[in-house]
């Protein structure tokens, strides 16, 4: 009975929403309770959750999803420049344009499978990055990144008589500014919706068929499924999620840079997903949170702050601990990242979610792990 309750969509969504919306409170002890990082958690959470719909369900490893993130950002900023500072059209356009590009790139890339598919997506994304950085500068403003300007036309805004006298206008949601905590709550609300959609997909026959394609594509074909459109749909959906994340990034901070499309950015979402747990519902989100946390908090620690943190220890122990941990923080945060990747794969092949399951098992919750969380039982 308990089990069924936990598995029900409504309960999951209620818990999920509660956890997400109270993030400013429970992130306080780990020093992550400031708007920018919380926004990044939500936005990259959306990116990873969407990526998981492709990678987690179909097993197709795309190495080019950052392209859609970048395209979403550029679209959103252009919408701010040309149409209005309201984020609604910007985000909608970002999703649509990213979806169109995903359709084109997916259509070509999905003609191949396995590593050939991965390299095709990588190649498309790298081309997008290189061009955005150089020859497409009129559209992308190159290295500096696309920015707002006071002289931008903003057709819709000017129709309603909004005039910007001094400085740059701010992005808003019908008057609510997108900066600070309000920005986080908008992103969090969208994350909740995005997560709900992902949950529905995971638990639908459509999601089941995608899983079956991952399991045995050949068999799917002889079972009467045309697998290509299924894969393409999943690719486009995850591309649209990436576009959504990109549009949201630009909505909260209206600047779109080419480096958002570099292969390292594509790699990051892959790592987030694997680290959290491929094919689990919540894992990719956890992966996104962990990586962004390391990037933003660990990189900022230094020796004196470590000393502060370990102040409760006796002095001799404190010195030892500080000296041992010091290479892993500040400029050494990459080292922590690398070590974490290795430790997780070696000890928790299923990502963080496997660790969670193991702990659950220790305490006697739940039965033996099922590989696919979203599977309806």
């Amino acid at each position: 009975m308990m089990k069924n309750l936990i598995k029900s969509n409504t309960v999951i969504m209620l818990i999920f929403a509660a956890v997400v919306l109270t993030a400013p409170i429970w992130t306080a002890p780990i020093g992550a309770n400031y708007p920018d990082l919380l926004q990044k958690f939500a936005i990259f959470g959306i990116f990873a959750v969407g990526y998981n719909i492709l990678f987690g369900l179909t097993g197709y490893l795309s190495f080019g999803h950052a392209a859609f993130l970048g395209i979403g950002s550029y679209t959103a900023v252009w919408s701010f420049k040309l149409l209005t500072m309201n984020v609604v059209p910007a985000i909608i356009l970002a999703v649509i344009v990213a979806g169109i590009f995903a359709l084109l790139i997916g259509f070509l890339s999905l003609r191949r499978s396995g590593i050939y598919f991965s390299i095709l997506t990588l190649a498309f994304a790298q081309m997008a990055y290189s061009l955005a950085y150089s020859v497409l500068t009129p559209i992308t403003n190159g290295e500096t990144g696309l920015q707002l300007e006071q002289q931008d036309p903003r057709v819709i805004d000017s129709m309603f008589g909004v005039v910007v006298k001094d400085g740059l206008p701010s992005t808003n949601l019908f008057g609510t500014l997108m900066s600070g905590y309000s920005g986080f709550y908008v992103a969090a609300a969208i994350l909740i919706v995005a997560f709900y959609i992902s949950l529905k997909i995971f638990r639908s026959p459509f999601g089941m068929k995608l899983l079956a394609i991952k399991s045995n594509q050949t068999r799917m074909k002889y079972t009467g499924f045309n697998t290509r459109p299924y894969l393409l749909t999943a690719f486009v959906i995850s591309g649209m999620y990436a576009g959504l994340a990109g549009g949201l990034l630009a909505s909260i901070d209206p600047l779109a840079g080419a480096e958002r499309m570099q292969w390292t950015a594509s790699g990051e979402v892959v790592l987030m997903t694997i680290m959290g747990g491929v094919g689990t519902l919540i894992g990719p989100l956890l992966g996104a949170v962990i990586i962004k946390y390391l990037e933003n908090i660990f990189s900022a620690l230094n020796k004196s702050e470590l000393t502060e943190i370990f102040n409760y220890m006796p002095e001799w122990l404190q010195t030892i601990v500080v000296n041992v941990t010091n290479p892993f923080v500040g400029e050494g945060w990459h080292l922590t990242l690398g070590a974490l990747f290795m430790l997780i794969v070696i000890f928790l092949p299923g990502g963080v979610m496997e660790g969670v399951d193991k702990i659950k098992g220790l305490f006697g919750f739940g039965k033996k792990k099922s590989t696919i969380e979203g599977e309806a039982k």
Partner: protein, 338 residues
């Protein structure tokens, strides 16, 4: 005509580097089935063998510059020069080629340790997990190198005799202005030699035959009762060695820095895949093809016609080849397609 010839040389030279890196990568791919994201790091470690060897040779007697009082500034004179005079200078001058002697055992050892300690536990794991673990390893190697050598590139010049350019034009009876650096010609020759050596090794030794059989059908070879584990270790060590040697010899062309492996990583994967998974000749062919095309694409005649083509040529060609030929230039069906 001259311009085309010299771009061809540039392309061959680039291609030599790509092919050499891709060779080790595809060897590990094909035989062990491992997607090694730390391969770029091995290339970088090779280059840093040259750097460390040079550092060892130039351990210097420090003479304090007395005119500077605010901090200690030294004029350095290597002990080798002090002890052996010109002979010492000459030895230091040849630091890079000599460092090969150090790189061979070091890279083999690194390959051996990596395979025994980590890679072998991942043969049966998914590609995604292989990527994550090797990528993590690459980051760690990179950070360790940075810790000891800093982030700036470190100059590792070629020996003086070959630091100039060869009059290629005169040699072929063409324009006398047509020159090409000796070291790049040496690099080209060196990589051809290494590539031939790897091919010969695989073709003419029993060991090589087993490896090739393994590349064709891993499971069958496993069933033959051959101690495949031991052979896998050796194959991986060879792959590491090839990457390392590519790095050593590249040091005079590209002053090494801790990040150079990552810069080559994506490119080498593209080369391997365009060549076709698990195909050694494919990787070599793709390396040279992409190198040459990249050179030609940057000619002003071409890039003014298609702006930005030099930025994307490699990826564009990769896309076209993969769409026209499903498994790259020489890949086989069913390898790495799931």
């Amino acid at each position: 005509m001259d311009a085309i010839l010299i771009q061809l040389l540039n392309g061959l030279d680039k291609g030599a580097a790509y092919a050499l890196i891709a060779l080790g990568l595809t060897l590990a791919f094909g035989t062990l089935g491992i997607v090694n994201f730390a391969h770029g790091a091995l290339f970088m470690l090779g280059a840093f063998c040259a750097v460390s060897f040079q550092k060892i040779l130039t351990i210097s007697k420090k003479v304090k510059d007395e005119s500077i009082t605010f901090f200690d500034a030294y004029k350095e004179k290597p002990y080798l020069e002090i002890w052996w005079g010109d002979t010492g200078t000459a030895i230091i001058d040849y630091a890079v080629p000599l460092s090969i002697l150090m790189a061979i055992p070091v890279m083999l050892l690194i390959g051996f340790i990596m395979e025994r300690g980590l890679i072998r536990h991942f043969y049966k794991r998914s590609h995604a997990e292989q990527i994550l673990v090797t990528f993590g390893l690459a980051i760690i190697i990179q950070e360790v190198i940075r810790h000891f050598f800093g982030a700036n590139p470190i100059p590792t010049p070629a020996p003086d005799v070959v630091s100039g350019s060869a009059a290629v034009g005169v040699f072929f009876g063409l324009n006398e202005n047509l020159v090409y650096p000796w070291w790049r010609l040496i690099y080209l020759a060196f990589s051809l030699a290494i590539i031939s050596a790897v091919f010969a090794f695989l073709k003419f030794t029993t060991f090589g035959m087993v490896v090739r059989a393994g590349m064709a059908d891993r499971e069958t070879v496993g069933l033959l009762g051959i101690n495949i584990q031991k052979r896998f270790t050796i194959v991986f060590a060879i792959a590491a060695l090839v990457a390392g040697l590519a790095g050593v010899m590249y040091a005079p062309i590209l002053p090494p820095d801790y990040h150079m492996g990552m810069d080559f990583l994506v490119l080498s994967f593209v080369v391997v895949v365009v060549g076709g998974m698990g195909s050694l000749p494919g990787a070599v062919a793709a390396g040279f093809l992409l190198g040459i095309l990249q050179s030609f694409a940057s000619m002003t005649e071409v890039s003014s016609l298609f702006p930005g083509i030099d930025q994307i040529i490699i990826y564009l060609v990769a896309v076209i080849i993969l769409l026209v030929r499903p498994r790259g230039l020489m890949g086989r069906e069913g390898v790495f397609e799931d």
